[in-house]
């Protein structure tokens, strides 16, 4: 059984034909829509490398069946930068050296982006808990925490760790 899937990715209407509905959303993005940003590592929901937004909500794309994405909105790491200008989270990862092999980075960047949309100045325990579903085998996480703190301080220079973002809903 083969289906057509229409999905909006990073604001663009996309259509994929000949999709087998047992494929994951991750496969659809990487192999059919040419977006290799979300990484394929464990394929079991364990590592978070495949993290994307689905209808504005953070998910593991490897566990979403492609058929379930029909008619929905996806935002991947490729959709975070504004043209040539990196998102503050991406910029902070570069500057703090939070990237070694880079395999975990796209997932972590999207997860950190989501956190900073919900919490302006997260505390360290809040950062740790929010990134608990993203595993990194190289950095030991210290530089990643530093990157998220730096991005938070730039997005909200006045705030203090622990203050909730305005309009936080989930």
């Amino acid at each position: 059984m083969i289906v057509r899937v229409n999905v909006t990715v990073n604001g663009e209407q996309c259509q994929a034909d000949d999709v087998w509905p047992g494929e994951s959303l991750l496969y659809l993005l990487r192999e059919r829509l040419g977006l290799p940003g979300a990484k394929n590592a464990c394929e079991q929901g364990e590592c978070g490398s495949c993290t994307v937004y689905l209808d504005g909500v953070l998910v593991c794309a490897c566990l979403v069946a492609a058929g379930q994405a029909q008619g929905r909105q996806v935002r991947t790491v490729e959709g975070l930068a504004d043209g040539a200008e990196l998102d503050p989270v991406q910029q902070a990862f570069v500057e703090t050296g939070a990237v070694q092999c880079g395999f975990c980075t796209p997932g972590l960047v999207v997860a950190a982006h989501d956190l900073l949309n919900r919490v302006d100045r997260p505390t360290d325990p809040e950062i740790r808990e929010a990134l608990a579903g993203n595993l990194c085998r190289c950095t030991g996480y210290e530089k990643i925490l530093e990157a998220v703190r730096l991005a938070a301080s730039r997005r909200n220079p006045g705030g203090r760790p622990g203050e909730a973002a305005e309009g936080e809903s989930r």
Partner: protein, 339 residues
């Protein structure tokens, strides 16, 4: 992965019929367990009926003060629901202790109840497993049993149920509402999951094609305190070695009501009725809590690698009860994130 047919259901009756008419058809919720199992080859359905667009995504008040949770309500949304945080903190805490933000955003209430064991031999299709392939044997018995059961196991299967949410629901006396080919049913949560016995392939009492539509939470008096405590190998993002869901009411230093359930110990959320009997009417003291824990765990039968679970369960229960009975105000879920 085997080829299969995919259908998106638009109403409950259609979804039930689409699964009931084919023995190899299954419902698809958030997919966080089922999609994983499709890839691993643990299950090979011929048809997937996607139920996530059915209108079962609401949390509604029930007459009499209870709450109805639709089967498609996501774990993250349920944990963030104000009525759950204020009146059922044990449930909010259990939900937030499970999986990761990315997974809780996908996982549904119905799917969480029906997630399958994390026994590694069940997930590894090259090893014998009576749950995956009835009659093939149980690789865990001669294997590594640190994560397996100490209560209610059978010679056919020693797996544990992995859900945190279900443990809280067992303590809350929740009721599972279903819609099946034979009509509708209301099943108390404590009778919903089975012990393995001679049929470990059956995790629950559900029939083929029976859809969970909602979970009902009974009303709780304002004086009741509740909490969930999960002990695991790291601070976050790991399954429970042992967990405790507890609800107590106090009157003049005496425990007037207690509901306790253990996770990580058995093939189902383990409602600790023997412990509850000891607690009811007894003074809220460390000695009482100790006796209650002993009464429940006296029948434990540890395997080669998991004897530690018995004292761990005892100490966790004593510690949770101590904390709950020392508290004065209402309990709020202690949560560090709200994804």
């Amino acid at each position: 992965m085997n080829p299969f047919e995919y259908r998106r259901a638009t109403d409950v009756a259609e979804a039930v019929a689409a699964v009931a008419e084919r023995p190899d058809a299954v419902f698809l919720g958030g997919g966080t367990n089922l999609v994983d199992h499709l890839k691993l080859g643990v299950t090979r359905p011929g048809r997937l009926v996607d139920i996530t667009r059915l209108p079962l995504d609401r949390v509604e008040p029930l007459p009499g003060g209870g709450v109805r949770v639709g089967a498609n309500v996501r774990n993250s949304d349920l944990a963030a629901e104000p009525v759950i945080r204020s009146r059922y903190p044990v449930l909010a805490q259990a939900l937030l202790s499970g999986a990761s933000g990315q997974l809780r955003n996908l996982a549904t209430t119905g799917g969480n109840l029906l997630q399958r064991t994390r026994c590694v031999y069940f997930q590894d299709i090259t090893t014998p497993c009576n749950k995956r392939m009835p009659g093939s044997g149980c690789a865990a018995l001669d294997g590594y049993t640190r994560h397996h059961a100490v209560l209610g196991a059978s010679p056919q299967c020693v797996a544990v149920h992995p859900s945190d949410m279900a443990v809280a629901l067992a303590a809350l006396d929740a009721v599972v509402r279903t819609h099946g080919p034979a009509g509708q049913r209301a099943i108390p949560l404590v009778e919903f999951h089975r012990l393995p016995g001679a049929q470990p392939e059956r995790d629950t009492v559900l029939d083929h094609g029976e859809l969970i539509t909602a979970v009902d939470l009974p009303a709780v008096p304002a004086t009741r305190r509740s909490a969930y405590r999960k002990v695991r190998d790291r601070a976050s993002y790991a399954f429970a070695l042992v967990s405790v869901a507890a609800e107590v009411e106090l009157r003049d230093g005496e425990i007037s009501q207690a509901r306790i359930a253990f996770g990580g110990l058995a093939h189902k959320p383990w409602r600790a009725q023997r412990a509850e009997q000891v607690l009811r009417g007894a003074p809220a003291t460390a000695a009482t809590f100790q006796r209650a824990a002993e009464a429940e765990l006296v029948g434990a039968q540890p395997l080669a690698d998991n004897a530690f679970k018995v004292p761990l369960a005892r100490n966790t229960l004593v510690s949770v009860l101590t904390e709950l009975t020392e508290l004065t105000g209402a309990t709020e879920p202690t949560q560090e994130d709200t994804p």
